[in-house]
């Protein structure tokens, strides 16, 4: 019984720890967008052609945050 209780507690602690990954992904997304803006303000004429690259970078950074969110969900509801 104690083991089961510990497992149930660890599940939620693990889910909370996994949620830290979302914050890390937020830093990454902010980095991408901030650097794009810094570059775009220096050379606005080149900015329009690079929005596709911006979104690809955002998507890659964000995907890892989504993975951690998924791990948290799995721990909460599936394990």
């Amino acid at each position: 019984m104690e083991l089961a209780a510990a497992a149930a507690m660890g599940k939620f602690i693990g889910a909370g720890l996994a949620a830290i990954g979302s914050g890390a992904a937020a830093i990454g997304v902010g980095n991408v967008a901030g650097n794009f803006l810094a570059g775009a303000l220096r050379n606005p004429s080149a900015a329009g052609s690079q929005t596709a690259t911006l979104f690809i970078g955002l998507a890659f950074a964000e995907a890892l945050g989504i993975f951690s969110f998924l791990v948290a969900l799995l721990l909460m509801f599936a394990v």
Partner: protein
């Protein structure tokens, strides 16, 4: 372990009785449309209903939109023309001129995902793209297609995608291993990104929605309820943006993978 399970079930039942109700993931349940019984692969469910509705909406927009072919377009025609031009430009920019051959497939992907996302934002509706089962079919299907296309177009040269010819010779095998792994993770991240984003957004909206009826229970609700209703409104606006951006990201990554298949090698 069974004790914990029964306790959890009891707590789950008690939550329905009084107090705040938090079931943010209940909205993703697949249910039968008609009658009772198990769900087979041919059973009409809410997922298939909303996918069918998305297809009907697409047909209505594009069939009626392209009917008039007026020089000064009607509103419906403008939507169709804008969507067409937007996706065509994206395919040509990213995948190159010979990628434009595959424009119909990319357009289908984009319009289907966008419409399914947007219909899913209607209150009470169901979002098929929030299920990994749906997005994985799209992602893995595209991945298999692109891999076969790469081998068919370039033969063994397609393997040049993994062999960095401008890296130092010692590093090349190591980089090749990393490239192969990253290539096979592509469909996983491709499909989970879409489903995860949509699911996360809808779950967050539901969490805030669960705070909204607090005003009926305690005095603190006079502060919490307006704040949570405002938050739902703001998150809903964000979700409209996310619905478009995720469709865009899915499509543009499909274009990138298509480009890799058509022009491998670094």
């Amino acid at each position: 372990m069974t004790d914990v399970a029964t306790e959890e079930a009891a707590a789950h039942g008690a939550e329905h009785g009084e107090g705040l109700v938090f079931h943010p993931l209940d909205q993703f349940k697949i249910t039968r449309l008609f009658g009772e019984g198990p769900i087979e692969w041919y059973t009409p469910t809410n997922a298939t209903l909303w996918m069918a509705l998305a297809i009907v909406a697409i047909l209505v927009i594009f069939v009626f939109g392209s009917k008039g072919r007026a020089l000064i377009p009607s509103r419906l025609q403008s939507i169709g023309e804008m969507a067409y031009g937007f996706v065509y430009k994206m395919v040509e920019d990213v995948a190159g001129h010979d990628g434009a051959k595959f424009f119909p497939m990319i357009m289908t992907l984009f319009i289907f995902i966008l419409t399914a996302n947007m219909l899913g934002l209607l209150p009470g509706s169901f979002t098929p793209t929030s299920h990994i089962a749906v997005t994985a079919v799209l992602g893995f299907g595209f991945f298999i297609f692109v891999t076969l296309l790469g081998f068919a177009k370039n033969g063994a040269h397609f393997l040049g995608l993994f062999w960095m010819s401008d890296a130092p010779l010692i590093l090349r095998p190591i980089i090749a291993v990393i490239e192969v792994i990253s290539y096979f993770v592509r469909p996983v991240s491709h499909s989970i990104r879409l489903a995860g984003n949509i699911m996360a957004g809808h779950a967050v909206m539901k969490v805030f929605a669960a705070f909204a009826p607090l005003v009926l229970m305690s005095a603190i609700g006079y502060v919490v309820t307006p704040v949570s209703i405002l938050a739902i409104t703001a998150i809903y606006a964000l979700e409209v943006l996310v619905a478009f951006i995720q469709a865009y990201v899915f499509t543009i990554l499909a274009c990138v993978y298509l480009k890799d298949a058509l022009h491998p090698g670094h």
